[in-house]
């Protein structure tokens, strides 16, 4: 993603101009983090005491922790006292028409084939004139409500459905889990909540597309999805547009709970600002995502396509507690220019005859560094557990790197884990073959890379898959040659 470097300092500076204000009208917390700031966030959101307590416990625990250093990425130290932890979503000025949107972003939209209405939504253009979008959203809300599905912002869920939120919040990713999860638990501002009651198959694929109030929730997002016995949901996260988010650190937490026989399919296409060609700027995407197959025969499937961010550091995992539960992880991670990705999954087998499948496709181009890190753990109770892991790395050009760190722990004699790994280059033969048939070099490369990722793309919902392919092609532009 080429273009003018995002001037973080300038953007940050603009916010700083307000100084240490507590005036509620500005909707901006003072810089830095302490219990008062957390109290203010909680008060602003009119949260119940139990949630404030929980935040404070997380904060106190976070104070005792230090940033992890084991990951295979490099970045300058983050000054946690130099971050504004709460800025209301509406700090971005609403634009009145698409003409005001950065032409470069519009060009990118066009390349991705995103519809005008969607472009307006993604750019934050006020949509009062677009009656259709509003009615569409309303129609979907009505349809969901009819099925008994709750799908709303996290804040709204806390207010309206505390009995659904409270038992599950932190039940999959404890605030003690890791440094960034603790930070998120202390300061998260909003996110998504989804609840699918017993036996209900969610009538549509849920995505943030239809949840307008969740736009711009910022850097510490929290998502909780609870699916009851025999229910099913497919959830799409992220957008394929080149969102130039001004937040540098993203530390989100996603928790999924699947009860008996429940199925959750969670698909992510992440394309945050990756920094410029020289590696300046870009998002640090440090995210904790985990699913808990708590009931027997439940299934959680993660599919991710990661092409953005300067640094991606995440391991969507599944805890397979219920007997015969199934965990899946399909991933495509691209690191071009100076991007770094250290990503993979954790499959924790607890129940009997639990099964997991991991397919990871890592693509490195330019100076990109791509690391697969995966943990497959089969506890003593995991009789008959099975795992199959495949990690394929594809290198484009001489200056990039691919690394694989599989960790496998098997404690039951009947449990079995298989690991396959390969590293290959986009072969000269393949490129020449395609070019000889008339296909230009860039297009040929992206075709070969898309072919390499096909196994993962086919796990994505149809429309997402098409966008993911385009996105990959756009991200590879200029990475060839």
């Amino acid at each position: 993603m080429s273009g003018a470097p995002l001037d973080l300092e300038e953007l940050a500076g603009r916010s700083y101009a307000y100084g240490f204000v507590t005036d509620l009208d500005t909707d901006l917390a003072p810089k830095g983090l302490n219990e008062e700031v957390i109290g203010m966030i909680s008060a602003k959101k009119e949260e119940p005491d139990w949630l404030l307590d929980w935040r404070l416990r997380a904060y106190r625990h976070w104070r005792t922790m230090s940033e992890p250093v084991w990951q295979n990425v490099r970045f300058d130290p983050i000054d946690y006292d130099d971050i504004i932890y709460y800025a209301a979503p509406k700090t971005k000025e609403a634009l009145s028409s698409l003409d005001e949107v950065d032409p470069e972003i519009r060009a990118m939209f066009d390349k991705l084939g995103i519809s005008l209405a969607e472009q307006e939504r993604l750019s934050g253009v006020a949509i009062d004139a677009v009656v259709d979008s509003v009615s569409v959203a309303t129609t979907f809300q009505a349809k969901l409500a009819e099925a008994g599905v709750v799908f709303c912002s996290f804040s709204e869920a806390v207010r309206r459905y505390p009995e659904l939120v409270r038992p599950h919040l932190g039940s999959v990713v404890s605030y003690r889990d890791n440094f960034f999860a603790a930070l998120n638990s202390a300061v998260f501002t909003d996110g998504s909540f989804c609840y699918v009651p017993k036996g209900v198959r969610c009538p549509m694929e849920l995505s943030t597309y239809f949840r307008i109030n969740a736009a711009g929730t910022g850097q510490f997002e929290r998502t909780l999805i609870v699916v009851e016995d025999g229910a099913e949901v497919s959830y799409l996260e992220g957008c394929t547009a080149p969102m130039r988010d001004e937040n540098q650190l993203h530390a989100a937490v996603v928790e999924l709970v699947a009860m008996e026989g429940a199925k959750i399919k969670y698909s992510t296409v992440q394309n945050w600002y990756p920094g410029d060609a020289e590696g300046r700027g870009g998002i640090y995407n440090f995210v904790t995502k985990r699913g808990l197959c708590t009931g027997a025969r439940s299934k959680i499937s993660w599919t991710q396509v990661e092409t953005g961010s300067a640094i991606t550091w995440k391991y969507p995992g599944v805890v397979l507690k219920g007997d015969e539960s199934v965990g899946e992880f399909y991933s495509v991670a691209l690191s071009a220019n100076h991007q770094q990705a250290d990503t993979g999954t954790k499959m924790i087998h607890i129940g009997r005859d639990t099964k997991s499948t991991i397919v990871s496709k890592a693509i490195s181009a330019g100076h990109g560094q791509n690391t697969y890190r995966g943990l497959v753990k089969m506890l003593r109770s995991a009789e008959g557990a099975r795992n199959h892991t495949r990690c394929d790395s594809l290198l484009i050009g001489p200056d990039c790197g691919a690394h694989t760190f599989p960790y496998i722990e098997v404690k039951h004699p009947t449990a079995r884990a298989e690991h396959e790994a390969s590293t290959s280059k986009v072969s000269e033969d393949q490129l020449f073959y395609a070019r000889q048939r008339g296909i230009p070099e860039e297009e040929a490369t992206s075709m070969i890379v898309n072919g390499f990722c096909r196994e993962v793309f086919k796990e994505l919902p149809m429309e997402f898959a098409v966008e993911a392919q385009r996105l990959l092609s756009v991200s590879l532009e200029g990475a060839v040659g």
């Binding site: 020449f432 073959y433 048939r437 008339g438 297009e443 070969i448 072919g451 990722c453």
Partner: protein, 259 residues
């Protein structure tokens, strides 16, 4: 249509082509035969623009183009097609998709409208039948898991769909049974038109019996040392290349490429 003059090509530090001359007029099919290591595949690859070959002297004119100055895709757009000796596998890319992408790349290069999936399907179906390729292979990845014969048929299918001005076949006949051989020959013969030409590189006479080339050239030691009509292929089979090798001592005796 194609005029090669004094072509010298090195691979690494070894000179493979040593002053090769060859001219193929439009409407003709020419065969190049020669022993292993004579430079046959080098010739094919240099014409198609593959990396790893250094042209140290000579020039190649194709229609109005200075062929050697063009990228592989530009050459393809100008109408050069190489049927590969070893067709390449591209995992995850469906065969049909690859073929349509190739055709549309050429359409674009010629400023023509792209061909939509359904229109393309209709167009491809005929050719698929003609080439006798199993339709199931069209939805599989390009050449992945294809047998040797299937790969070659696939090359001919691409040839039939892309309809190049100049088809170069690099030992496409090697290892083929007689049925597959006929497919190759029919594929090339189908393109026999006044504005097209073919360069068929082969070891064996069998393909030439089916194709009946207008000219046969003998490539030995990086040069064309003899040229003749279709009957030269038969003569070669009797005498072998060794009998011809002596001709090189006296360049005058060499019937070079007709200019």
């Amino acid at each position: 249509m194609l005029v090669i003059e004094g072509l010298h090509v090195e691979v690494g530090r070894t000179e493979i082509l040593a002053g090769l001359d060859l001219a193929i007029p439009a409407g003709e099919i020419h065969a190049v035969m020669g022993p292993n290591g004579a430079g046959k595949s080098t010739l094919a690859n240099v014409l198609a623009g593959r990396d790893g070959y250094r042209v140290t002297a000579g020039r190649v004119k194709f229609l109005d183009h200075d062929l050697l100055a063009m990228s592989p895709e530009e050459r393809a757009a100008a109408g050069v097609f190489l049927a590969f000796q070893q067709p390449v596998e591209i995992p995850g890319v469906p065969n049909m998709y690859f073929l349509r992408t190739a055709l549309n790349s050429l359409q674009r290069a010629h400023g023509l409208a792209e061909i939509g999936p359904s229109e393309f399907l209709a167009l491809a179906q005929d050719k698929v039948r003609l080439v006798g390729i199993d339709p199931a292979l069209m939805s599989r990845s390009v050449n992945e898991g294809f047998s040797g014969g299937e790969k070659k048929r696939n090359e001919i299918l691409q040839l039939a769909v892309l309809e190049p001005r100049l088809a170069i076949l690099d030992e496409t006949d090697s290892g083929l049974d007689i049925d597959a051989l006929r497919v190759v020959a029919d594929g090339v013969n189908a393109l026999r038109r006044p504005d097209r030409a073919a360069l068929v590189i082969t070891h064996h006479r069998r393909l030439l019996d089916l194709l009946v080339p207008d000219r046969v050239h003998v490539l030995v030691g990086g040069r064309i040392i003899r040229s003749g009509g279709a009957e030269l292929a038969g003569e070669l089979e009797r005498t072998g290349y060794t009998g011809l090798r002596d001709d090189r001592r006296d360049p005058v005796a060499t019937i070079g490429a007709s200019r």
